[in-house]
Symmetry: C2
Subunit: 98 residues, 2 copies
């Protein structure tokens, strides 16, 4: 069963800054290079009921593809080198059809 | 610009209960009857990094369609009569393409 992996987040960088644009572009390049990542998208979160500002969403064909992504060295290094220092707040959710 | 309106939530009802099934079915019937609601889906939230268990997601063609939904009497009465008493915890997010 296909899994939609999502994370909603707010950066430490100022909205509209070059650091923000660079983070989003680098994330797209890194994460879409990982095998199994399908339909990767970056959305803006616009509800005033949350102060998170961005969403990454991607699809995996199954749990094995999702696990391989999590363990992939490109993902692991992206989390350590970019996500942890540059993201101020986040929440992950994974969705499957009910 | 199309808007994806979402809410991730946990019910006061026991997982797998008839009350849970009834809430989800009644929500689908009520909310999909409202003009402007497109691609309504109910998903299960399966990441252990959140204790929320369900997601409603729907698309609106524009802000006017979203506002009309919010103000529609079927939505207002669903929130007052079912959502408030039966939902234990929730978070809304709205997404637009970056």
């Amino acid at each position: 069963m296909s899994i939609q992996h999502t994370v909603v987040f707010r950066l430490a960088h100022a909205p509209g800054s070059s650091e923000e644009a660079e983070f989003l572009a680098d994330a797209r390049a890194a994460l879409t290079s990982i095998p199994g990542v399908e339909d990767f998208r970056i959305n803006r979160q616009v509800s005033p009921k949350s102060d998170l500002a961005h969403q990454f969403t991607m699809l995996f064909a199954d749990d094995a593809a999702y696990q391989a992504y999590n363990d992939h060295p490109t993902h692991v290094s992206f989390v350590a080198e970019r996500w942890v220092p540059e993201v101020a707040e986040f929440q992950e959710y994974d969705f499957v059809e009910a």
